[in-house]
């Protein structure tokens, strides 16, 4: 089965980004496909490469980056939600005249159309939020 996943709460404050991660791992292990994960609301904050959690805690961004790399998952961060919250890739930082970018490897910034497209093209849409 093709499963599309949405993460809609921020890392560390909420469990959603962790539960979503464990769900995707389990689904892949069962032979399902997860072509895309879409990050929305505060979920976009998962994609910052500047978070530095204590060493004895899990690193949510790194977990996702590694999982996506291993399984070829397209991780999309909503551009409108990202811009409100200060998540920028190199192009967006330049376009907005900002002096830095912070998107981690494996994530890409794109529009909400990617969420709708994912919902149309998958058999199930699973949202992890509050």
């Amino acid at each position: 089965m093709k499963i599309g996943v949405v993460i809609s709460e921020g890392p560390y404050t909420h469990q959603a980004a962790d539960t979503g991660y464990h769900f995707v791992k389990a689904a892949l292990a069962k032979g399902h496909e997860v072509p895309r994960v879409f990050f929305y609301h505060d979920g976009v904050n998962v994609a910052t490469r500047l978070s530095v959690p204590p060493q004895d805690e899990r690193n949510i961004q790194k977990n996702w980056t590694e999982l996506a790399k291993e399984h070829g998952i397209d991780m999309v961060v909503c551009i409108a939600a990202a811009q409100r919250r200060g998540l920028l890739d190199e192009n967006e930082a330049e376009r907005q005249g900002k002096d830095a970018n912070n998107i981690a490897e494996g994530f890409r910034i794109s529009g909400l159309g990617q969420l709708i497209e994912m919902a149309i093209q998958t058999d199930r849409l699973v949202m992890f939020g509050d």
């Binding site: 809609s8 409108a80 909400l112 159309g113 969420l115 709708i116 149309i120 849409l125 939020g129």
Partner: protein
């Protein structure tokens, strides 16, 4: 699998205080371009999103409630509001803004988009969907 799916956007949160309602509406507006079968559900504190006379000047946040009246132009004209959620909050249909659409199958007659449904009917509506996005 057919190319058209039934999408239901479930709105459960008050319009202000958190960003869920606004960012839900942004998905609805973008999603309208994909020509899917779209409906919106309002339940729990989500029913406050449709109340009339919203004034946000005191909190410095944009009042986005007029946008709901434009949904008809995007062929989004099924706004299901749960009766029990209204009643539990001391609200009735009279407290909601009037949202109309033009029915192209009925000589463009103006019809109300808001449909008040019971909790049991809401469950049936959810069961019929292909995709449910919950905000």
């Amino acid at each position: 699998m057919s190319d058209t799916k039934k999408f239901l956007y479930v709105n459960r949160k008050a319009p202000y205080g958190t960003i869920y309602a606004l960012e839900s509406l942004e998905v609805v507006l973008i999603g309208a371009a994909f020509e899917q079968e779209v409906a919106l559900a309002f339940l729990d504190d989500g029913v406050f999103q449709l109340t009339k006379g919203q004034d946000t000047t005191g909190i410095g946040v944009k009042n986005f409630s007029p946008t709901f009246r434009a949904l008809g132009d995007y062929d989004v004209n099924k706004l299901y509001v749960e009766r029990e959620s209204l009643e539990e909050r001391g609200l009735s249909e009279d407290d909601l803004q009037e949202i109309m659409y033009e029915d192209e199958d009925d000589d463009w007659a103006e019809k109300p988009s808001i449909r008040i449904v019971s909790r049991a009917e809401m469950a049936d509506i959810m069961a019929e969907q292909d995709v449910i996005l919950s905000f």
